[in-house]
Symmetry: C5
Subunit: 338 residues, 5 copies
């Protein structure tokens, strides 16, 4: 997430410089041909404008969907914050020594801290899983790869899941989790087994046991929603359509401009080149911004800042449990917060 | 679901080649007539542009609705993932030997595994039911049938419901289920009878019995939502309107282009044919992509990948229950994941 | 609901023939006047195009709202399916002889079947209430009344509420219900009284009593949502605006076309008539399709198929309860499913 | 709510006659100036069309928001219907003489009727509060005030809150409620105190006590949502923008039309006046209809019919409780249902 | 929130005067150049109109998103009202002396008042946290800073969190809270500890304890949703795009107008300046209004009035608990309600 006012104009220009050059070539070729006598190489502007409107529609539609995906991703992580805090207060205040029940003694504070540590482990596993690459993601494209000089992706560049989990779980639990297909999902199952254990030892009534399990059910929902956005891209049939239409339009624009400028006089046709570049740049950049938004967990600068959110949750939960040596909140680097 | 970056251009061209030929004919006929002297066969472009805008509106509207149907379908299956995992942890940790109650002994692990196996049977029945054909679906159209060379539909091409259920249920349960009108719905009813049985034997308290039944209620909701999308098509009155308007527009476009090109000079009118094909192709393909998206369970390459999701759920649940010999996750074939 | 691929072109033409004739007259009058010398009776096309865009906006808006009403109606009935199935499994598996409580003996199977029969009675009353006429509905308009030759509305043409309820309820209950202002609402109240009775006889714990009542609460929600759509039309102020704008636009179009065609030469002005009819037909039909969609319970061919859904629920519930002589599922007649 | 097919054309004309006159003046002034020689007072149509498109966008946006506000208001009152019916059946069937508890005797039927009467009192207080005036509402504008001859607002014209509550509550309760800042909110608090009282006397278990309180929680939600729509207008910054843009556009239209008509010949410029009025009327009326919809509780003819809905709830609840002398349902007066 | 009918025209003009001057310069430069002979400095209008349409699309899209953010913020605070009232009635009526349990005596009224005071403290902390500045907010821009002469932001201008909390909490609690990273979140954790204490003293059953905790869970949800809107701006990649496109369009408009006006005659080109200013002003102001809406907690005049809502909640809750000396409701100052 960019955490400032705007991306600098310089970054935008650098980020779009490759295709801007292509637009110039696409506009220059017919212009030169026209100037050398192929005066038939023009098309009336009006049908092109109609195609332009159609392109604006589908690009608008795609940007809408991209924005919705990003915003939903942020909502889900908002939900993770909320359920985590709720789970935190329940872990603090639902473990009681029931008068009517008795079981082997257990240190309630240790049980509480264990639940909280395993919860943080779940957050850690989840953010590592969400930042794994997918075939349709754009972060590997040359203009995006180049931009990685301005920020870092903790889950790929610095940290390792095994080490992070090792700080939070017992070695046995950690090993068991790392061997599964979906570590985050199995961490919640471990959490559920721990609650059953507390129930059997008499520190949870049936009713509070179910209330705590309901929090786990909600966490599964949040995780599943994240996985849905991660694993189900903006439909590739629409993306293919967009790609084809935008470039078809960009190829047609200079032909239409040639005709409009040629009406003004012969010297004017050379204005086709800058004008064509501007129109192409507007439509293509509109599309490209949408594309850079549609995968909110790809490790790009427009990602939902899940590393920072996970850290903030950790601080809140440890503060609730009265722990002291809290890690610092994460700050943006170069205006990018991950 | 296409699991790559884009459909190849070659596929798009092949997939639209039949109507592209039709557009050429539709554009050629008035052009030839014009060239042979029927110079009155032109229409001013502006009213056609207005119809084009209206067509863009209703096509955009339809694509919006198609996308919403696809996305909702994916959300529902995301919900099935979540509720399945929740049901899994409850099946593992809610069956307890209550201190205050006593009933005949039962193997809790066997009861748990039975619940999980029946759940997987429900997933299986559901995906078979969702992939049955409907009158309004497009998968049988020639351009889509042809495309089936690139992928396979497990529920139609390889597997059989009876055999799949036979691996998961007792023969008596299996036979009873296969005789009903809606096997998936009756499998959940069987699940509910099993819970009642566990309740009566004293392994579930009233409270946990209701909590597990609530999970079944959620599964009924997911199933009902899938059936809603499966059985209630994009309203045929709107689909009829779209079909008529798009073709009416395609028929009018060459008449308008003739007039625009004839202004440039007589030789230019022949450009009507390529220009007409391009405009028609843009509007028709936009419509056709929507049509290929509106039925997310028809067995097409743009389907929600329900076979793969069901398999992933199976793996998660068996891993939770500590089972070992897990089946592999499904991978895309030719970039199509089913 | 139309359950095929498309409405036949012939039906569309017949269904719109009256206003098509009107459009021809509206376009012919100024054309003839123009041809007889009133050459001032033209208007520049551009302002008309702007009004056309505004009309396209508000018609698109209305079709959006109509579609949303239809889709919500179908969602509600999907919800009715889900809650009905859930209520069915609860009726089967929540009635137990509690160990700690005792009351007069009752046949649990009879209690279960009574709950299910009353539920089907509720479905029946609801669909009769939803298919009653309202002042703003379109089913009585001549083009729609004419179309009723292709299908039948069971709740109006063949069946009677009193007879249908008589098959499901005791004569006393039936008489009491038929005397109330809102039979469906009071049937759920009867259902609630029956649950209280079962609670007092000791076959329901407090907890399961509330769980079953919660299902009734959900059914009230579904019923209330249906009544909202039934009793609150698409706001008449917007509908009035649409009607005025569409016809104002239709009246202006020929004046603008006259000017455009007159630029091409004098003979061309007669093309105003077919062109005017086409433009008018496109905009008016777009509006009319929306109007035919906005009341999803009016008994039209685009209705939500509530008779068929209610029958499917009946079959599912009776199958759950192990009943045998099940009625058949309803099939479309002439591609219309009611 | 208008409960017929359409507002009569005559009403629309009368309702918009003032600004129509203004449009004529605005169009006439530049036309006359032009005719008297100020031929420079024209503007090319195309930039004006672009502004027109922008105006259509923001007006469409506003009408969207207005419709959403109206529809949400109706949904909330649909929710009030549903929760009221649920509360009704709970009031009937949740009050029991618990076997394990005992308290002082109380007439359960009287308790039930008291709960229902207080609920109706809440509905009454709520609809009076919602129909109080706000600074941004339009009902006081001259064209709307004039329209009040066609209908009546019960909460302002005929009834008084104190009298209505006096029929439903004890004098002490009534006096206490009328002294508070938010009578409806405090009525629900009274209802909660009554439930506590029933709980302490042993007629409600802990579990059913909470279930009934949950219904109150839902009623608070409905009330709060109504208050949100009542107290938070369509944002005035957007409304200001709309007002400025529509009138700016209306002022520019005649300048553009002058140029278009002057192309046709000198006599044609006088057509600027009717054409300008039509364009202005279309855009302004579109805006004005939205404005008349955006406050659904202002006491206008497009209000949600909360008086009628409240009455229907009263009838349903009293019928559930077996009461006889029911008041009649409210009917539209002059097609307006309040 | 502006609580009147419209912002005065004078305020709008003052608020936009700086950029209006810039538009005049941008339009004047090419006009003067043209007049001095650079007659090639024109561009055909049609491609500019297409860019204008694209700009209208993305601005409309942004305003949509801004409105959605504002409206969601208001919905969340509506939810805070609802949950607060519910929490209020539960604090009043759920604290009981259970017959089956016994613990040390406590003054139930004091416990109730303590819960309510801590709830008000939470509201206070939340509104202070929400009104802290963020890097992307607009309140510091010169035209907005200037506007602060018309209203005041209580959380920045007059009040201090420490003093406000000191009136509501014990000194120990207050000190503990002020030392944490997120005081509002920790206040709810304190509230939860207080409930645990009441549970252990026997004044809450397990069931009512969980019901009250569920209210805290809901409050965490409301807080988390507010923080999501506060901490996650309208995506800066889209905002950057908007900024660039609007200014690019503004720079191109005079070039297109020059060409249109030059067609009318040489003197007409000077009309480019006022016309260019008007078009630029319309598009830029549309964008700027959206920008002033997108951060609903920045302390601007279009904020959600959270100070006033928090006060209204305080009054309702104290009235429920029978307290007397209530503070007054807040009124708008200069039509701005904060």
């Amino acid at each position: 997430m960019h955490a400032g006012r705007h991306y600098p104009l310089k970054h935008v220009i650098l980020w779009t410089r490759r295709e801007t050059f292509a637009f110039a070539v696409i506009a220059a070729v017919p212009t030169v041909l026209y100037a050398t006598g192929w005066s038939w190489i023009t098309v009336p502007w009006l049908p092109i404008a109609l195609i332009g409107t159609a392109v604006a529609f589908i690009t608008g539609f795609k940007n809408n969907a991209s924005y919705a995906r990003l915003w939903e991703a942020r909502q889900i992580w908002g939900g993770i914050v909320n359920t985590s805090r709720s789970f935190g207060v329940m872990a603090c205040d639902y473990l009681l020594q029931e008068p009517g029940l008795c079981g082997p003694a257990v240190d309630l504070a240790a049980a509480r801290d264990g639940l909280i540590a395993r919860h943080i482990a779940w957050l850690t596993a989840l953010r590592f899983q969400l930042r794994e690459p997918r075939a349709w993601e754009n972060i590997g494209l040359v203009h995006n790869a180049e931009y990685r000089r301005y920020y870092q992706i903790p889950e790929r560049d610095n940290d390792y899941l095994g080490i992070e989990l090792g700080k939070l779980l017992t070695p046995a639990d950690c090993a068991a989790i790392l061997g599964t297909k979906n570590p985050a999902a199995q961490l919640l199952a471990q959490q559920s087994h721990a609650l059953r254990d507390l129930r059997e030892r008499g520190f949870l009534s049936d009713y509070r046991h179910v209330a705590l399990t309901d929090a786990l059910v909600e966490l599964y929902e949040h995780q599943g929603k994240c996985e849905r956005i991660k694993n189900f891209p903006y439909p590739r049939q629409f993306a293919t359509l967009n790609l084809l239409f935008v470039w078809l339009f960009i190829a047609l624009v200079p032909l239409g401009l040639l005709q409009e400028f040629s009406k003004l006089g012969d010297g004017f046709v050379w204005l086709t080149i800058p004008a064509g570049v501007i129109v192409a740049w507007v439509f293509h950049t509109m599309d490209k911004i949408g594309e850079s938004t549609e995968n909110p967990f790809e490790g790009g600068p427009n990602d939902v800042p899940i590393t920072a959110i996970a850290r903030a949750i950790e601080v809140d939960l440890r503060e609730m449990a009265g722990q002291k040596d809290l890690p610092p909140l994460l700050q943006p680097r170069g205006e990018i917060l991950m």
